[in-house]
């Protein structure tokens, strides 16, 4: 009997040590600086609220932490889309003025590798700025830092809430420097191939409800030669 107890205790403590090592692995970290921070090109920054109830519409499978908004919006419950969420939101410019409409569709990434610090999401943005045109953003996002620094502490908290200031880039590809691929659609963006980065700033996160105070930004680098051509 004592051997069985020792075996179970050994397995449990081994798994716990492994999880601790995984979460606090010093070799896994995110780049603190945006890949576009040092660009000489003109950039376009668009902000949005990352709180579902601040959006025009947010939906998912209806069983996730973040509840669909408005309440009666149709949920994405079918198996092929049950790990997907869709959001329609208002985008603001760098002066906090309404600039246009953004639609984001995101799905859990099958290339997620927690051992390597990759909690991946494949997402696309469609952005339409009235009077300027539309463009499409394709990206892989890595939420490992978000998971480790916000969600795990919230679960450990007796109140089930994390409060603080967390800011980070979530874009991790497909560009080799951790940038999103941005393709122009219409208007002044027609034919342009650009780079982008999405970042988040979270202040409050609750186990029941997800982000309660959070903002996001899309930063798009517009190469001067392509701007001149358009």
């Amino acid at each position: 009997m004592k051997y069985i107890i020792a075996l179970i205790a050994g397995i449990l403590s081994g798994a716990a040590l492994f999880l601790l090592g995984l979460v606090y692995n010093p070799f896994i970290g995110e780049a603190a600086l945006s890949p576009l921070a040092t660009t000489d090109s003109k950039t376009l920054t668009l902000g949005y609220s990352a709180v579902a109830s601040d959006s025009v519409m947010y939906t998912n499978d209806g069983e996730s932490q973040v509840s669909p908004f408005p309440d009666k919006v149709q949920q994405l419950w079918e198996a092929p889309i049950s790990q997907t969420n869709a959001m329609v939101t208002v985008l603001t410019d760098s002066r906090n003025q309404v600039a246009g409409m953004g639609i984001k569709m995101a799905s859990a990434g099958e290339n997620t590798r927690l051992l390597e610090g990759k909690a991946l999401v494949n997402s696309v943005w469609y952005v339409y700025l009235p009077g300027r045109g539309s463009f499409f953003v394709e990206q892989t996002e890595n939420y490992w830092g978000y998971l480790r620094d916000i969600i795990l502490p919230a679960y450990r908290s007796s109140a089930g809430t994390w409060k603080g200031i967390w800011t980070g880039n979530v874009t991790s590809g497909p560009g080799t420097t951790g940038t999103a691929r941005v393709s122009g659609g219409t208007g002044e963006f027609d034919g342009m191939e650009m780079l982008g980065v999405e970042s988040l700033s979270v202040r409050t996160w609750r186990v029941s409800g997800g982000p309660l105070a959070a903002d996001g930004w899309l930063t798009i680098e517009m190469p001067d030669d392509q701007l001149a051509a358009n």
Binding site: G14, L17, D71, V73, A79, P80, M101, M105, S107, A108
Partner: protein
Amino acid sequence: MLAAAGALYTIPVVDQFREVSIVTVAPNGGNSELFHINIPADRVMIGATGKDGDVPLELAWPQDKVFENIGTEIFKVRNAKDAVIGVAARTVAKEGDTDLTDWVIHLPARGSLFVNMEPQPEAGRARIGKLRTGSREFGDLSGLIAESWVSGSASEDGVPRGRIELRADYVSASSLVGGRAEEQLR
């Protein structure tokens, strides 16, 4: 510890459910795929300024002047076997005298398509759009999408019933010299 590491390494954390792709080879080269959206069942959201009939009913469409000429719809997308396989967004806007219609089709297990439609459909024909770009499986493809409305049975509540058909014809962009994809697929 080794067992936990081994389990995490071998067992996929995310495993997207896949419907079998129903793709046909076009006679003149390239592949064709038919998607459709059942209306109104697959409409997740519709919002536009100054128009009744927002879905869901509690939707608060932004009243800012910027949104005066924008309408957005979100749908579930089905394959030829009527199984839901993705989510799509259709945005309509007026840019001066020009009508803009863009589609984004997101298929979680495969990738996404971004399509700019022609302002007006040709008389009696489907509205044609150009595949601007795609992600993952669609990243190297070039082609056209044809959008058409197929009326269903008459509705009693005044809501149009039917389906939106999206026929995608695509070829590998790397195998073609510029411009030929459209000629080949039309």
